[in-house]
Symmetry: C2
């Protein structure tokens, strides 16, 4: 029997992975959860039929969501991760020796359990004494937080199902309040090609709240078309230049030079950012004044 996991990105574009074995599947209060063994990408976490992360390329995503914001803050002592119940982002956060405390807020305990059992490469960090796990919704958790965190990471699935509220304007206002006066946050903000409107809308929402807003790009091969965006909102520090080089072994993707390069948006993406050309101080203005 040939099993293929099929993901429809649009009604006219889909990706299919051959699955050697369905290792685990369950239905939680929030979603369908599966762990599968893919032929070419190793084990994968699948939520409501959408591949969230695979062993083969999870580090592309987790290193870029964690190290870019963490290396942009001079003293990230207290870090909140919203979503990311697989533990991959937490694992990367823990590589920063300055970090004293990590709170992981995940809405679905069943995701954490499945990843603890079947994806230890991602979830191992959850047992670190610096980590507290809180099972609740991100927005609800934030309502009790004022001036508490140095860095917040929003490691959400696509904005459908339980994660939809993590892309709303109210949510970013709560993030702002939960951050210290010099805090910053990074959120995954979807494909800058397939989800142009979401990307553009989130950047605009964050711009209404934070004085410094910087979208950045990377590649996550198993995500739609590979091209992926994150957005940083910061109260004080501009993330364009990392403040520290990486000082841990085991990095597979992130380098200081990659950090800097990630903020250089191509025209097709930059043009989705409200007020892009001219205003952002770190983005060199280009001459596009017409062919002579």
């Amino acid at each position: 029997m040939e099993l293929w996991l099929s993901e429809e990105h649009t009604p006219g574009y889909r990706v299919q992975w051959r699955v050697r074995k369905v290792i685990y599947c369950t239905k939680s209060r929030f979603q369908d959860i599966a762990i599968v063994e893919m032929q070419d990408f190793g084990r994968a976490l699948v939520l409501d039929g959408i591949v969230q992360t695979t062993i083969a390329d999870e580090f592309y995503y987790h290193e870029m969501i964690a190290h870019v914001p963490l290396c942009s803050h001079p003293k990230p002592l207290s870090v909140l991760v919203i979503g990311g119940g697989d533990g991959g982002a937490v694992r990367e956060v823990l590589k920063h020796n300055l970090v004293k405390r990590v709170v992981l807020v995940e809405i679905d305990e069943a995701v954490v359990s499945a990843c603890r059992e079947y994806l230890p490469e991602l979830s191992a960090g959850l047992d670190d004494p610096r980590v507290s796990l809180v099972i609740t919704d991100g927005q609800g958790y934030l309502e009790g937080c004022i001036n508490e965190f140095d860095v917040i990471l929003v490691d959400s699935p696509d904005p459908i199902g339980p994660a939809a509220e993590l892309f709303a304007g109210d949510f970013y206002a709560s993030i702002f309040t939960a951050l210290k006066d010099d805090g910053l946050f990074a959120a995954q903000t979807e494909s800058p090609l397939f989800n142009r409107e979401i990307f553009s809308r989130v950047v605009a929402s964050v711009k209404c709240l934070f004085p410094i807003v910087r979208p950045y790009l990377t590649v996550v091969p198993t995500y739609t078309s590979g091209y992926w965006s994150f957005t940083i909102g910061s109260k004080k520090y501009d993330p364009l230049q990392p403040l520290r080089p990486v000082d841990w072994s085991g990095a597979k993707f992130y380098r200081s030079a990659v950090h800097r390069a990630a903020f250089e948006l191509p025209l097709a993406v930059g043009n989705l950012v409200p007020g892009w050309l001219g205003t952002p101080p770190g983005v060199a203005k280009e001459t596009t004044a017409g062919r002579k």
Copy 2:
């Protein structure tokens, strides 16, 4: 009837595009050629069942294969394009006012005819008086060329079928001879994830011949997993810094900042480049000396 074009990237990973209409198809001496109308990506050129370029994202590829090398040469008067019978790379080359002469060498006249008829957005530049079209194989054409071109672009399909010889060591030796004493070339060198061995081997081959070798990366959403590599071999000029800003309208992707950023390889890709860390002068050495 639902038509889906299916592309197998590995035996366990494939991508499918819904096709509204097969506009044209023929079998040339070299390959099956089709022009299709995709639901989400506009018209596309398909050779032997593999999508070569689509209207929706062709500029990601064509701007990056052309402008990075062209902007790295102070006086690119004479340019050779090998492959790329669709005309997309030539179109971008012609945006550089310094260019006086472009030779397009394409092995398969039927590709050029199909693109002239059905993909005028790409092929229109072929009628420019600066362009000469030569229908022959790239290696054969190069045998008659000594010290002739400032810049050569190798815009080849995957290294199977008629394009296989465009990835061999002999081919790069012929490129070297065909370039002037300060010439440089850029070749598409496949996915740095799905075609690691090809990428690594080509970079090594070019390093045996050229004093300056610089792989660079971009995203081409309709190519395997989106992540795509090019490699520049240069006799004199280091391409890390563009020599000119873009001075034409109509660019959709390339900016000088994107040019610079494209050379910053993540660890997972840099580690495929022989002798990468430490040796290349433009690549900052990173501290990865173990977690404290």
